[in-house]
């Protein structure tokens, strides 16, 4: 059993990763979380659902992970007073998730320090909740301004700089409130929710297949990771395993997504320290990867290539040769560029020491993914819980201790080379022929499944609940940016304002993925 607790009865879920689910009582929530926390585990996601149509009130769901696997726990809440014990005192990362869950569903944490709204600005009233099944959008509409209470820093010479939601570059919208003395940043407070598109509500009116397209558009740069996690959740409920060829192709797509994004980020990180040469060079390489994607798989970002039950794109033998050549080209070029970055004094001067998150703080904050690995947090779903075909690939995890911009650059370089190696390996093992998918039209009734995939940014989780007819009752996509955004508020402390864009880019977190 992944968690030992006398009141906890877990059932193992079918599917690609080791996962369990179970129901708990309110009194057991904090002790179990504490137990997982003390054993080195983390909180991955927290969401809620409206089960009143089944006569059950509401439910709170949390996904925890430890070295044994993923554990999804559900807690029934009475319809009249849907409150639950606060989790953020154990896992600080739960703070924004709890607030978002209140904004969308009206279930709330007792106690807790911070009860400000999170995803809601002015689009609907504080007393109406979009994810309730009886939500009526018309009377809930408002055009109220946001009215959010930022924490104020006072003192001699302190002033505020407000940035966003529309930023100075080609970036997603969000608001940053800096308190500064001279050039030095004393505090940063983030305000998000600007791109809230009502994705979770939208899932509820979709078929399984339409849902796959939407999952692939939660955060466009991670479309493969989301589509795979969604498919994994559906396949877990249906207890089916896609054909082997589909699994190998999925891994190929996921590594190609990582390669493209790491190339792009490495280019921009050079650009942000005034080495526009870096941008030019890396984006030439990225464009070649995208063009190969377009020519071989029909989409430059591989959107809609993964479907529940398998994949919708195949690779021919000539295509394979193209990708082998691409590997050789990238390995050669990136090696040269890495040498140039490492020996460029101006670049290293800006990278080293900027935006540092010490390993101890990273552990406290539950930092995950690429940024976590740059601060000694050795979590990589492909390594700890290798779903097929990663169980045959022996992924080498890249970790580093320094936790600064330089470390996040090094981790990107290491992962880029590792992904190229994996791509070669996958291509070598991908035998011709074989089915691309199995039919998966409809899911069993009242099922629950979860999929977790290591996207380029970090672990992407998608949880799916079906109703009494097997339709999508609730889909919760979770982006690793929920975990890592709060860390950016810490990373900038004591740095100077002009370094913020660089530090922010070194994390490169998603706005749309957390705004939903």
């Amino acid at each position: 059993m992944p968690i030992n607790h006398p009141n906890l009865h877990l059932t193992q879920l079918a599917g690609a990763i080791p996962a369990w689910s179970g129901n708990i009582k309110p009194g057991d929530l904090q002790p179990i979380c504490r137990n997982v926390h003390d054993g080195g585990g983390r909180l991955v996601a927290l969401w809620g659902s409206d089960d009143r149509e089944q006569g059950n009130g509401y439910s709170l769901h949390i996904a925890l992970v430890n070295e044994a696997g993923l554990v999804c726990l559900s807690l029934s809440l009475p319809a009249g007073q849907p409150g639950y014990p606060d989790v953020s005192s154990i896992f600080p990362v739960a703070n924004r998730m709890q607030r978002a869950t209140y904004d969308l569903l009206g279930i709330y944490a007792h106690e807790g320090q911070d009860h400000r709204k999170w995803l809601r600005h002015g689009a609907w009233h504080g007393g109406s909740f979009p994810l309730r099944k009886d939500f009526d959008p018309a009377p809930s509409r408002t055009d109220d301004a946001d009215n959010y209470h930022f924490v104020q820093v006072e003192g001699q010479g302190v002033h505020e700089i407000a940035v966003g939601p529309v930023h100075a570059g080609i970036i997603e919208p969000g608001h940053f409130r800096f308190s500064v003395v001279g050039e030095k940043m004393l505090r940063l407070e983030e305000r998000f929710g600007y791109t809230h598109n009502g994705i979770e509500k939208r899932f509820e009116s979709m078929s399984l297949q339409q849902g796959a397209r939407l999952a692939g558009r939660v955060s466009g740069d991670s479309t493969v990771a989301y589509a795979w996690a969604y498919a994994m959740a559906a396949e877990s409920i249906a207890a089916v395993t896609p054909p082997e060829r589909a699994l190998w192709l999925r891994a190929l797509f996921l590594e190609r997504e990582r390669i493209a994004n790491h190339l792009g980020d490495l280019g921009y990180l050079g650009n942000d320290v005034a080495l526009s040469f870096g941008f030019t060079q890396f984006w030439i390489l990225k464009e070649q990867v995208l063009r190969n994607n377009g020519a071989l798989f029909g989409h430059r970002y591989l959107m809609d290539s993964i479907i529940p039950g398998g994949v919708a794109a195949d690779l021919t033998d000539p295509g394979k040769r193209t990708l082998f050549e691409e590997c050789s080209l990238l390995e050669r070029e990136v090696r040269v560029l890495r040498g140039i970055y490492e020996e460029h004094a101006g670049v290293q001067d800006r990278f080293i020491g900027a935006g540092r998150i010490e390993p101890r703080l990273a552990a406290q904050l539950g930092l995950c993914g690429l940024a976590g690995r740059a601060s000694s947090q050795a979590w990589d779903t492909r390594v700890q819980f290798p779903c097929a075909p990663y169980d045959q690939l022996d992924v080498q995890m890249a970790t580093y201790r320094n936790g600064d911009v330089a470390a996040r650059v090094i981790v990107r370089f290491d992962e880029l080379f590792e992904s190229l190696r994996l791509q070669r390996e996958i291509l070598a093992r991908l035998m011709p022929g074989g089915e691309l998918s199995l039919p998966l039209e409809k899911l069993p009734a009242q099922g629950f499944g979860a999929g977790m995939v290591e996207g380029w940014r970090g672990e992407v989780l998608v949880a799916v609940h079906t109703d009494t007819d097997g339709n999508l009752a609730r889909v919760h996509p979770h982006d690793p940016s929920w975990q890592n955004w709060p860390a950016v508020e810490h990373a900038i402390l004591g740095n100077i304002v002009p370094d913020f864009p660089l530090i922010n880019k070194s994390f490169n977190l998603s706005y749309s993925g957390q705004d939903l």
């Binding site: 080609i170 466009g220 740069d221 705004d515």
Partner: protein
């Protein structure tokens, strides 16, 4: 330094030829008078606004700056403020939380100004909105106002999810060339 220069020389010039404007992309009649056309000259400043996209369209707008599309080589520049812009490039269905920001950005852009809506979402609300509401699409939801034209006037729309950099470039050139006639 030697490595860096060697790499630049080895890389050579990658830029593709720019696409031709496409009249079919235009959705509005010419809004602007001929006498103001010379204002833009042959240089164009663009302000990008993400009004609620999934970030997919942004990836392709970034690609426009790579050596293959070389948008700066055409005299087109992305600027940091709407006050310096001739054109707004707007992506995403307009989330209700972005309406004010988008309107203010539009108002801050000096006349004459152009608006190009980028991507399926910006054209008709896309996957985030149910399109059965209004007869010509552009559906809304509790969180979203749907297409960009529901909030500010749009000159040219470019479909695709996301549109390719070539399609985006074509949309931009279509909007500009309309003014030159």
């Amino acid at each position: 330094m030697y490595q860096l220069i060697k790499q630049i020389i080895k890389t050579g010039i990658k830029t593709d030829a720019a696409p031709l404007p496409d009249e079919a992309l235009r959705v509005t009649t010419q809004r602007l008078h001929e006498e103001i056309l010379h204002v833009f000259g042959s240089a164009l400043n663009i302000r990008h606004v993400d009004a609620g996209s999934c970030n997919g369209c942004e990836l392709e707008i970034h690609s426009l700056s790579n050596a293959y599309y070389n948008i700066e080589g055409l005299g087109i520049k992305f600027v940091a403020s709407p006050r310096h812009a001739d054109m707004l490039l707007v992506t995403g269905p307009v989330s209700r939380h972005m309406v004010t920001a988008l309107r203010r950005t539009f108002d801050a852009t000096p006349e004459p100004k152009l608006v190009v809506a980028i991507g399926e979402c910006a054209c008709n609300g896309g996957i985030f909105c149910s399109n059965d509401g209004s007869p010509d699409g552009g559906g809304e939801s509790y969180a979203s106002c749907g297409r960009v034209a529901n909030v500010i006037p749009v000159d040219v729309v470019v479909g695709g999810c996301p549109p390719t950099p070539t399609a985006i470039l074509q949309g931009i050139l279509t909007a500009v060339s309309a003014q030159k006639q």
